[in-house]
Symmetry: C2
DNA sequence: TTCTGATAGCGGCATATGCCACTAAATTCA
DNA sequence: TGAATTTAGTGGCATATGCCGCTATCAGAA
């Protein structure tokens, strides 16, 4: 087995990112569990909250998320009455999103738990280190990784 | 709208991690597309390859992934004939995994593309910076984030 | 004004991931 | 040895995410 000399997947930026995301996601999810929300849902509610009745496209862009994926993710939140949508009167293609009163209450509840998770995590890795990490991740999300289509 | 003063979700370590993962995942997926594999699948095939017919539990542990999630993710790869499983003769609870010959060929093909993606990414953020990032992500994956059950 | 192209979302399909309940197999203990 | 416990996976259910093709709208050109 020559495999013994092959480098681990520790070298793959993408694999490491996914792995860390699984780990941290489980942690935040655990802490948020009492609220009944997943960390992704809490984050989405928050993103909607800090926006001014944002359009779906705007939310998707902010989260670097596929528009249809956002639509799917929104469904359980709409079903559970935390979020509602309405067509923009000036452009009926645009669907805007806002929290319902219950959604706002639920978000407050979840934010309390989020602070706990956030704090506990930063106690482990250090506030500075966490900030550096977030900055690096922000840079990645902002990268222009257009596929050079091997053209010309 | 007092929201204007609220901090963006840029402060959430978990949200930033997920966002960067979506971004990078799309990029690696795009580059890997000609192979027909997603980046997650390529990573999984590689992990299996570098192991010595690893048990599912061992793979899941290495990837910090839920065991049943691994089982689900493995299904398309088995269906497509890239991977096969077999019971460990010494402990029939354990199911070991290995690549099929076609799986090995497909992995080789995907690895070529992976190198392209990896290279292009590191050209953008810098080799050093990428290495630092991976190290930070590795630390996170290794964290002991057990929920203190608020117990005695 | 009508035809054409660009935008914003939706719905279907597929993979990624997790949790929970359940089964099978091995281990421990009385 | 036989019951209780632990370990390894499975299957079902639910969310997370993406891609593709389709529809409704809007904007700009003829």
């Amino acid at each position: 087995m020559t495999q013994a000399t092959l480098p681990g997947l520790t070298l793959c930026n993408n694999a490491m990112l996914r792995r860390a995301t699984r780990k941290l996601g489980q942690f935040y999810d655990d802490v948020l569990a009492p609220s009944g929300l997943k960390a992704t849902q809490q984050g989405l509610l928050y993103q909607i909250h800090i926006g001014d009745e944002p359009a779906m496209g705007a939310i998707a862009a902010a989260l670097v998320m596929d528009l249809s994926a956002l639509g799917h993710t929104l469904k359980p939140l709409i079903r559970d009455g935390y979020v509602e949508t309405f067509a923009d009167p000036d452009d009926r293609r645009i669907k805007r999103v806002r929290l319902t009163p219950q959604g706002l209450i639920k978000l407050d509840e979840a934010m309390k738990l989020w602070r706990v998770a956030q704090q506990r995590f930063e106690d482990m890795v250090g506030r500075e280190q966490a900030a550096r990490l977030r900055a690096a991740l922000d840079d990645i999300a902002a990268l222009d990784l257009d596929m050079p289509p091997a053209a010309t």
